[in-house]
């Protein structure tokens, strides 16, 4: 029973990633694409967690942490580029 539920959840996460990928490609504006990429990161992270339950292993937990960190930093870099046109500033303007 629990196996069928986990497989159904994996299929639904894959469907969700596919739908979000459409938004990344089609997305009318750049902020849409940034948010869609962040959503893909979160869905991928949940899918890895379910795979790690299905395989009964703890080896994927570091992958989940690193994927979360990279999705966070990537979203910040995207939003900063969209907002200011530059990713790393040379000097403070405060």
């Amino acid at each position: 029973m629990i196996d069928q539920i986990l497989m159904l959840a994996l299929a639904l996460f894959s469907l969700s990633i596919a739908i979000t990928l459409y938004r990344v490609i089609k997305g009318p504006s750049m902020p849409d694409r940034a948010i869609a990429l962040d959503t893909i990161g979160v869905n991928l992270l949940s899918a890895i967690a379910i795979v790690s339950i299905v395989l009964k292993t703890k080896a994927y937990l570091e992958a989940i942490l690193i994927l979360g960190i990279l999705a966070f930093i990537g979203t910040i870099a995207f939003t900063k580029y969209i907002e200011r046109g530059v990713v790393v500033e040379r000097k403070s303007n405060h």
Binding site: A59, E62, I69, A77, E89, R90
Partner: protein, 142 residues
């Protein structure tokens, strides 16, 4: 143009320490579990990149006064230095050794020269990744 980014800076102050701790953990876990010098170096570099994103180059250089090209060079020197050290013991280049020592608190702990090699790899990865990201994200003068 002044932009209010107090939320990003406050979150960064807390999250950077979590990321750096995860990087150091991955570096030491690499002996018997997933991890190692390359992955640990990448996570450490991503923490430093997060600092550069939230603040700016001058502020970060006041707190982290490293020339990252020199960090990469020191890493390569350390990694190949452990390889050269092995040929003085009449064994092939890059041969590594190690043994188990019983420590008072930690118990049976494995010490090996692979850790020094991995430290070199980690320093190389940190220096290279930060140098690449600073080079490609620099705003043009004028």
């Amino acid at each position: 143009m002044k932009i209010n980014d107090v939320i990003l800076r406050t979150v960064t102050k807390a999250v950077v320490f979590i990321i750096l701790t995860l990087g150091v953990y991955l570096f030491f876990a690499g002996h018997h579990a997933p991890g190692g010098g390359f992955i640990g170096g990448l996570v450490l570099a991503s923490g430093i990149v997060l600092l550069y994103l939230a603040y700016d180059i001058e502020t970060v250089h006041r707190g982290v006064p490293f020339n990252f090209k020199k960090v990469a060079a020191v890493g390569v020197l350390l990694a190949t230095g452990t390889g050269i050290g092995s040929i003085f013991f009449d064994v092939p280049f890059l041969t590594q050794t190690g043994k188990y020592i019983t420590l008072p608190i930690l118990g049976k702990t494995s010490f090996s020269t692979v850790t020094l090699f991995e430290a070199g790899v980690a320093l190389t990865v940190v220096g290279t990744v930060v140098t690449i990201i600073l080079s490609i994200s620099e705003e043009e003068e004028g």
